[in-house]
Symmetry: C2
Subunit: 315 residues, 2 copies
């Protein structure tokens, strides 16, 4: 395992007072629909609007002063880009974020708003990686990838430690899975903290590489993902896949209609703005498959982010 429980405890000490300790909320309506008590860890209320700020903060604070002074670099058009930009600004170091030219203006503006320097590139993974490597070579900065990095995984796991502190009797935790940074961090944190706790991933059926990999026991790539959950498009990583294979109990997949319905349910009943990727975890606990699992009186679900475009008609 690339990350241990001790790493996550060390990360928790490192990010304490810098990241929000987000609340854990419940909703009687959702409990009735899920057939059990569901405890939501509200990382949509985290700084920069997602759990990504935990991993980015842990990674940035781990750097020595000399290394940190040269700044950090990443390529991302999503929540990690904003998270790294703010984490760098809080430490007082530069952040370079490589973004595809096609990224939404609002995402670019968010990174700039947090003090990041945006470098545009052509919208392919190869170009993103090439331009990011150029930025590293030019600045001497440190590349902080969005999920497949021990410090990032450990940082994401701190949300699970807090959740289990607040609700020690959880029988299971559920986390959405894209690259697997959060799910692997949750798995290490949960299995290490509470004997017998179950850990489930939640994934869109339209980007189900984790479910396929898990079923086959062999890593499978995600090709041509098709889902509204734009934070969950990527394949599992070299570090996250073995953790998920060995520490996760199952992957629940959900339809696009389920995702939108769960998103609206949370906005309407919990009064929380969550993004589609966060709704995937909610939709998972509402599936017939999950409802049929025996036991599990109390389940924790992480609402991973709340970065949406308010002018977009989601329903």
């Amino acid at each position: 395992m690339a990350v241990t429980l001790a790493d996550i405890h060390a990360a928790a000490d490192r990010v304490r007072g810098v990241v929000h300790r987000t609340p854990v909320l419940t909703c009687a309506t959702i409990d009735a629909l899920a057939g059990r008590r569901v405890h939501f860890k509200c990382e949509n209320l985290q700084k920069t609007g997602s759990f990504k700020y935990r991993g980015a903060t842990n990674a940035v604070r781990r750097l020595t002063d000399a290394v940190a002074a040269r700044g950090v670099v990443t390529h991302s058009s999503g929540n990690h880009a904003q998270a790294l930009a703010l984490a760098a600004r809080v430490r007082g170091i530069p952040a370079t974020v490589v973004m595809p030219r096609t990224a939404a203006a609002v995402k670019r503006a968010a990174v700039v708003g947090y003090g990041g320097a945006v470098v545009e590139c052509a919208p392919t993974l190869a170009e993103r990686e090439r331009v990011a490597a150029e930025a590293v070579a030019r600045t001497g900065g440190t590349l902080i990838p969005p999920f497949d990095h021990p410090d990032v995984i450990a940082g994401q796991g701190t949300a699970c430690l807090e959740l289990l502190e607040d609700v020690p009797h959880l029988a299971a935790v559920v986390a959405p899975v894209g690259g697997g940074g959060m799910l692997s961090g949750f798995a290490i944190a949960a299995k290490g903290t509470r004997a017998g706790v179950m850990v489930y991933g939640a994934e869109p059926a339209g980007a189900d590489d984790a479910a396929r990999s898990f079923a086959a026991g062999v890593w499978q790539p995600q090709t041509a993902p098709d889902t509204i959950a734009d934070g969950l498009l990527t394949s599992l990583g070299a570090l996250t896949w073995p953790i998920i294979r060995d520490r996760v109990d199952g992957i629940v997949t959900v339809s696009e209609a389920d995702i939108v319905a769960a998103m609206r349910l949370v906005w309407e009943r919990m009064k929380l703005v969550i993004e589609p990727s966060a709704a995937v975890g909610v939709a998972a606990v509402l599936t017939a498959e999950f409802r049929a699992l025996p036991g599990l009186a109390d389940v924790g679900v992480v609402l991973c982010g709340g970065n949406v475009q308010l002018d977009r008609p989601y329903w």
Copy 2:
């Protein structure tokens, strides 16, 4: 004063474990815009989606078993209706809610969803009062008005006690004002708990009876209110007005454009669904008038509710 600090402490004991202890959240973006640190008491995350559940619960739990058994009655098309319906259901007694025929179907459905019996009437205040009186006569139930009632005022004040427990160094608290139940409860709770704390009401310019009454020193009715903040349309009551006159330091009025902008700001940056009435308090601390107030390093603002129609285009 119709309500004392001791009444509010007694209400807090009475509602503890029944109402949510809602979180207090902050937002660096709003702090920067407000020019000071703003602490938001999230009553949009309260059961039934608004602070009204506090007052309704306190009033319902105060009834003797014999009186309670005959049920409760109110006339309301807003958040108090849902709050009373749930408070009654939790106690296991019937609630009759008189609603104008013109009330939105979604509001009627919410009351029914919480187990209330809806009685329709013509859409005038006189008809609402007449039909409610009929229901009281028929059922022997107790009328629980939406704001002008000591138990309701004391219940709303419990949110302020919690806010001051969580952030003891607040220099001021700000609460939206419609009928004045929340503002008067906050004023008694805040002035009684912390010497020197300032208390401000926040009101739409399109329904500014509190500001006019406060300026004149004499109660003024609200006629022809015109605002998107549909929870703040009513005039101050016979019990709430003297408390506001004697215990509140000022009323800040805001424009319709300010309300919508503040509402969007909170959805977008805080990831919280708030209703227009709640945005009035946010808009107030962003006015040039409020920003110019000296001192007040830390200010508490109550986000009073989150009941919106998600299909409505607010912006």
